[in-house]
Chain length 648, copies 2
C-alpha cells in the first residue's frame, strides 16, 4: 500500500475528478486517468477532486476479476460490509495496483470513531461529532480539517476494518503495504502523525534538557583539573592511571550524580506536562480506541461487548493473563537467562584463552584471544534476532484487543531484552567485579564508539545513499507518470518503526543516569550526539524509508514508563558506585568511619534521594493547569450531554 500525497503544488497534478462531477477541463496525471474512481455512495461527498491517499499493491497473481471484486468491496458502504472508500484501478483494470482515497463522510465518521478532538466554532478543541460536523471549523475541507497523516491512517484503518470483518483472503493484500514518501514536511505531526510527532518532540526536549547537565559536567571536569586526564584515561588502556582518584574529582562526581538524579525526575515530569499539552493540541487526548472495533489480528468467540453492546469477537481477560503468566513470562525469562549464560560463557572463554595464550604464547593462541568476543557477538546477535520473532508471536498469542495494547506489550518485551543485553556487562562490572575504573573505561569507549557508529550509519551512509542512489533515481522519475512515481517510491525499504530510535535514546539515558557519577562528560557527549541525531533522524524518516502509517497517539506510552523507571533505578546504581569509590572509602577510613557506617550512609542517602524524587514527582502536576481545565470542561460537557440525552 502506498501513500500518495496529494498536497503537492496545490495538488492539481494528482487530483482526479469524479464522473458525477463532470468538470470540463481536467489536468489529470497518468496515474488517475484511465478507468474512473468508484462512485461515492452519499451525495454530500461528491467533490470536484479526489485526493489519492494510499496505493495498494496487489500480489503478482491477482487476476483482473479479483481486482474488480476488490474495488467493488472497497467502495461498498460500511453498513453493507464494505470500507466506504474510493478506489481507482490505476493505469488499467489489469494493473497490480489500486489507488485509494476516502470520501468526506468516511473521513469524518472515522474521526469521530477514533475520538480525535478538532476545533469547534468557538475556537475550542472539542471531541469531534459527526452529527455536529457543521459546527466544526473547516469540516468541509478535508485537507485542512485532517492532517495528511490522519487522512492516510484513516484509509488504512478502514481497510483493516474490512479485513477484520470479513477476513478477506485476497492474495497480496495483506503483505504488500508499501508507502510513498514525499519530502515536503510541513510539520512532523501534520505529515507523519502524532506517534512520530511525539518522538521528535521528546528528542528535542530531552536534548535541550541535557544542557544544564553538560554545563555542570564541563565545569566540574574543568575545576577538578581533571579534564585532560579524564579523556586520557577513558581513551587510553592503561589501568594504572585510572586507578588514581583524586578527592576533588570524586566530590565533583558526587555533586554531578545528585544533580543528575534530581534532574532526571524534573525532566520526566516536565516532559509529561509537555506531552499532555501536545496531545491536547493534536486532538488526541480523548482517543476512543477501546470503544472502537478490535484490531485486525484479534480473534475470539463472537459475543456482545459488555461496554459498547456491539457484537464482536470477545476474549476473556483472565485467559490473556493466563497466557502471559504461563507462556510469555517464562519464555522472556528464558531468553534473559540465555543472555546471562552467554555472558558467563564469554567470561569463561576469555579466561581460558588468556590462560592458553600465557601457556603457549604463539600466533595461533593470539588469534584465539579474539575468539570469545567474536563468538559472543555472533551469539548475542543471533539471540536478539530469534528473540524478536519470538516476542512478536508471543504478543500475537496474547491476543490483545487494541492495537496500542499490542504495541505496548511487544515493545515492553523487546525493550527488557535489549536493555538487559546492553547493560548486563556494565552491571556485572559495577556490581560483581566492583571495578569502577574498568566501568569508566568501558562507558567512555561505549559512548565514543556508539557516537562514531551513529555518525557513520546515520549521517554518512544516508548521505551517500541519497547522493548516489536515490538522487539520480529521483530526477529521473520527475517527469514520469504519477503511478510510476508511486512504484518507484515503493522500492524504498519499509520504515522499521520508532523502536530503534527510542531504544537508542533509552540506552543513552541509561548511560547518563545509571553511571553519571563515574563519567561526568556523558551529558556533553550525548548533547553533541543528539544535536546531529535530530537532523539525521528527520532525514532518515523523510528520505530513506517509505512514509509509515502512524496511528494517533496520546503519549509516548510504554517509553515514558521505561524512562521513569530508569530514573529511579539510577539512584540505586549511583549510590552504590559512589560507595565503591576508592577515594571515598579511603577518606572514610581515615576519618574513622567504618565500612559498615559508610554503607549505612550510602543507603540513607539513597532512601532520601528516592523520597525526594517521589515527592517531586507527586508535587509537579502531570498536566499544565490550562490543559486540566480544558480536559475537565470536555468531561463536564460529556456528563451534561449524558443527562440531557436521557430526556429523549
Amino acid at each position: 500500500m502506498n501513500r500518495a500525497d496529494g498536497d503537492e503544488d496545490g495538488g492539481d497534478g494528482e487530483s482526479a475528478e469524479l464522473p458525477e462531477a463532470k468538470t470540463p477541463a481536467s489536468k489529470l496525471g497518468a496515474a488517475t486517468v484511465g478507468p474512473d474512481w468508484t462512485k461515492v455512495s452519499c451525495p454530500c461527498c461528491v467533490s470536484q477532486r479526489v485526493e489519492p491517499l494510499v496505493l495498494v499493491k496487489l500480489g503478482e497473481k491477482v487476476r483482473p476479476e479479483t481486482k474488480r471484486w476488490l474495488i467493488r468491496v472497497i467502495g461498498t458502504p460500511q453498513k453493507d460490509g464494505g470500507a466506504a472508500l474510493l478506489a481507482h484501478p490505476g493505469e488499467d483494470a489489469s494493473g497490480d495496483i489500486i489507488v485509494l482515497s476516502a470520501p468526506r463522510c468516511t473521513l469524518l465518521k472515522a474521526t469521530e470513531e477514533l475520538g480525535l478532538c478538532k476545533t469547534y466554532h468557538t475556537e475550542e478543541l472539542e471531541a469531534f461529532s459527526y452529527n455536529d460536523r457543521d459546527n466544526f471549523k473547516n469540516a468541509d475541507n478535508m485537507e485542512v480539517f485532517l492532517t495528511l497523516a490522519e487522512r492516510q491512517y484513516i484509509v488504512k484503518y478502514e481497510l483493516d476494518g474490512l479485513r477484520a470483518q470479513r477476513d478477506l483472503r485476497v492474495p497480496g493484500l495483506a503483505d504488500n503495504y508499501t508507502l510513498q514518501y514525499r519530502d515536503n514536511v510541513y510539520s512532523v505531526n501534520e505529515y507523519f502523525g502524532s506517534s512520530v510527532g511525539f518522538y521528535f518532540s521528546f528528542l528535542d526536549f530531552y536534548t535541550w534538557s541535557l544542557l544544564p547537565l553538560a554545563v555542570l559536567g564541563l565545569t566540574i571536569t574543568y575545576f577538578s583539573g581533571e579534564a585532560e586526564k579524564e579523556m586520557d584515561e577513558s581513551v587510553s588502556d592503561s589501568p594504572d592511571t585510572s586507578d588514581e582518584d583524586s578527592g576533588l574529582a570524586v566530590s565533583g562526581h558526587i555533586v554531578q550524580a545528585v544533580f543528575s538524579m534530581l534532574w532526571s525526575t524534573v525532566v520526566m515530569e516536565l516532559w509529561k506536562r509537555r506531552s499532555s499539552s501536545l496531545s491536547y493540541r493534536w486532538g488526541t487526548m480523548h482517543l476512543a480506541e477501546r470503544f472502537a472495533e478490535p484490531r485486525p489480528g484479534f480473534h475470539g468467540d463472537l459475543g456482545v461487548n459488555p461496554v459498547t453492546h456491539r457484537v464482536e469477537p470477545l476474549f476473556s481477560e483472565w485467559q490473556r493473563d493466563l497466557r502471559m503468566a504461563l507462556v510469555s513470562v517464562p519464555v522472556v525469562g528464558l531468553f534473559l537467562g540465555l543472555v546471562v549464560l552467554g555472558m558467563m560463557c564469554f567470561y569463561w572463554g576469555e579466561a581460558q584463552v588468556q590462560q592458553l595464550h600465557s601457556d603457549w604464547d604463539s600466533l595461533l593462541s593470539q588469534a584465539l584471544l579474539y575468539a570469545p568476543s567474536v563468538l559472543h557477538i555472533a551469539y548475542a546477535n543471533a539471540l536478539s534476532t530469534v528473540y524478536r520473532t519470538v516476542a512478536r508471536s508471543l504478543t500475537e498469542y496474547e491476543n490483545h484487543r487494541e492495537e496500542s495494547a499490542y504495541e505496548n506489550h511487544l515493545t515492553s518485551k523487546v525493550l527488557v531484552f535489549t536493555f538487559f543485553n546492553c547493560f548486563a556487562v556494565l552491571f556485572h562490572i559495577a556490581f560483581f567485579k566492583q571495578d569502577v575504573p574498568l566501568l569508566r573505561k568501558r562507558l567512555a569507549s561505549l559512548l565514543i564508539v556508539t557516537q562514531l557508529l551513529n555518525q557513520v550509519t546515520e549521517v554518512v551512509i544516508p548521505f551517500l545513499v541519497d547522493r548516489f542512489i536515490s538522487a539520480p533515481h529521483r530526477t529521473e522519475s520527475e517527469d514520469d507518470p504519477q503511478e510510476d512515481k508511486f512504484r518507484n517510491q515503493s522500492t524504498l525499504p519499509v520504515f522499521p518503526g520508532l523502536f530503534a530510535e527510542y531504544i537508542e535514546l533509552l540506552v543513552q539515558f541509561g548511560y547518563l543516569s545509571l553511571f553519571s557519577c563515574v563519567f561526568p562528560l556523558t551529558a556533553v557527549l550525548l548533547l553533541l550526539n543528539n544535536l546531529t541525531e535530530i537532523r539525521t533522524d528527520a532525514y532518515k524518516i523523510c528520505k530513506l524509508f517509505r512514509k509509515p502509517f502512524s496511528p494517533p497517539a496520546a503519549s509516548m506510552r510504554v517509553w515514558q514508563v521505561a524512562f521513569e523507571i530508569l530514573s529511579f533505578v539510577s539512584v540505586v546504581s549511583n549510590c552504590w558506585l559512589l560507595f565503591l569509590s576508592p577515594w571515598l572509602q579511603k577518606v572514610c577510613r581515615e576519618g574513622g568511619l567504618s565500612g559498615t557506617n559508610l554503607l549505612l550512609l550510602a543507603v540513607l542517602v539513597e532512601h532520601l534521594l528516592i523520597l525526594v524524587k517521589l515527592v517531586m514527582a507527586v508535587l509537579i502536576p502531570d498536566e499544565p493547569g490550562w490543559v486540566r481545565k480544558k480536559r475537565e470542561h470536555i468531561e463536564f460537557t460529556s456528563m451534561q450531554a449524558l443527562r440531557e440525552q436521557k430526556l429523549r
Copy 2:
C-alpha cells in the same frame, strides 16, 4: 440541625399533610401539628405525606419575624435564590426550631448534581439524570430511591448552598446543627451514608485479613517454643532475659516479617478492588463534586469557571499552592520540630532526674523521677490540641474549592502529626538507640495498654453511660411529643468524625507492619481487639452521638494512601530491625560474613522486597473486571451522548 428519621413504624406518626392535599383523617404527631409545612412550588411534588428529615435549632434570640423570613427563604425555589426545601415551624411560630424536608424534585435534582448513580429500568446502575427520571426505578418513591443518609445530606447540601450563595447572617443557624439518632440501623451505608460505610467495610475487611497473619504468628511463636517466654519478656521488666535471642525465634521472625510485608500489599490491593465495587454498588463512582457549587467556606473573586462556564467565586491554583508551600508546610514542619524537641527534652530530663536520684536518693528525688514523663505527656497533649486548631485554620486559609479537598488536606495534616507523635519514640529506639529488646517491650506494652484502654473507653464507659444516663432518659421520652424527642436527642454530643477511628486503625497497622519482625503476636492481639472494635464503634455511632451528615464518598481517599505508604515504609523498617537482630549478627560473624556484607544483604533483600511489592501492586488490578466493564460502559454512553447532543 436535627435529623428526624421519618421511617419508623410506617412513618405515619411523623407524617404531615400538605394543605393542598386535604386528606380528611390525619394522625399527626405534636411536632408537626400547628402551622403548616410550606407549600411546594412545583405541582409534581405535592404528596400526601412529608417526611421530616432535618431539624434546625435556632439561636435563643431569634425573633418570630426572622423565623418567618427564614422559612420563606428556605421554601423559595432555587432560581429565586432559595433552597427549595419544605419547612415546618414546629409547635408554633415563635418556637426555636424549624423542621425541614425536601420535595421530590429538589431531591432528584440534587441527586443529579452530586453525580450519584441509580438503578435504571434496565437494572443497570447509571448516572442519574433528572430529565430521564421516569426511566429510573423507584424514582417516584423517595424513601426507596435515596437512602435516608442521602436524603438528609441533600437537605444539608441545599442549606449550605443557600448560605454560600447569600451569606445569610441569621444568628444561630450556622452553629446549632444538632442531629437526632434513631437506633434502627438497616445497613450502615443506607443509614449513615457512604463515608461511614467505607469505614466499617474497611474495618471488617482488615480485621478478617489479619487472620492468616495471626495464625502464622501463633504457629511461629508456638514452634519456636517461645510462646511463654515471649509474653513474659514483653510484660516483665527485666532487660536481661529479653537480651537472649534464640536462633529459631529469629528465623521465625524473618518468615513472619517477609510474609507480613507481602501480605500488606496484597491486602491493600484487594481492599482497593473491594472499595471500587462498593463505590459502584453505592452509586458514588461518578461523583461530580468538582462540577458542583464550591463549598460554603470557599471565597474568591467572582468570575466564570473555565470548566462549567458558571459564574462563581474563583481562586487560582498557584495562589493556593503558594499558600501551602509558604505557610502550611513551614508551620507543620515547626510543629513536627516541636514534637522532636519535646522528646529530646524528655530524654534529657529523664537523665537529669536519674542522676539527681542517684545523688540524693531521697523521697523527693524519687517523686521527681515521674516529673519528666508527666511533663512530656502534658506537653504532648497541649501541642496536639493547639495543632488541631492550627491545622484547621491553615486548611481554611488554603481555600479549597471542594469539600473533599478540604477534608483531604486537613486529614493529611493531622495524620502526619499524630503519626509522628505516636511513632517518634519507637523510631528513636529502633534507629538511634538500636535497642531491639527495649523496642519489643515498648511495643508489647503499647499494644496491651492500648487494648485495655480501648476496651474501657469503648465498651465499658459507653455501656455505663447507656445504662445509667441515656436509658432512663430514653424511656421517659417515649411518650413525649416528637419535637421534644428531637430536642432530647440533640443533647447528645456532636459526632467527632471518623478521624479518631481511622487513626487508631492506622497506628495499629503501623505497629503491625513496621515492627512485625520484633513481636509476632501483634496480629493476634490486633485481631482480638478489632473484633470487639467493630461492635463498639457501631454502638458508639448509633447510640452515643448525634447522627452525622455524611457526604457521598467514592473511597477512603487519603487514608487509603496513608495505609499504602506505611506498607512500603514497613519494608525499610523490618529489614533494618532484622539487620540489628543480635542473633543474626552473631551467626553471620560465625559464618565469616562481615558486618558490611550482612548490611549489603539486608539492603539487597529490602530492594528485592520493594520490587516484588511494586510488581504485585501493578499486577493486581485496582478494580474487579466487572466494575471496570460497567465503568467503561458509562464512559462510552457519555461519550456517545456528547456526540448525539451536538446534533441539536
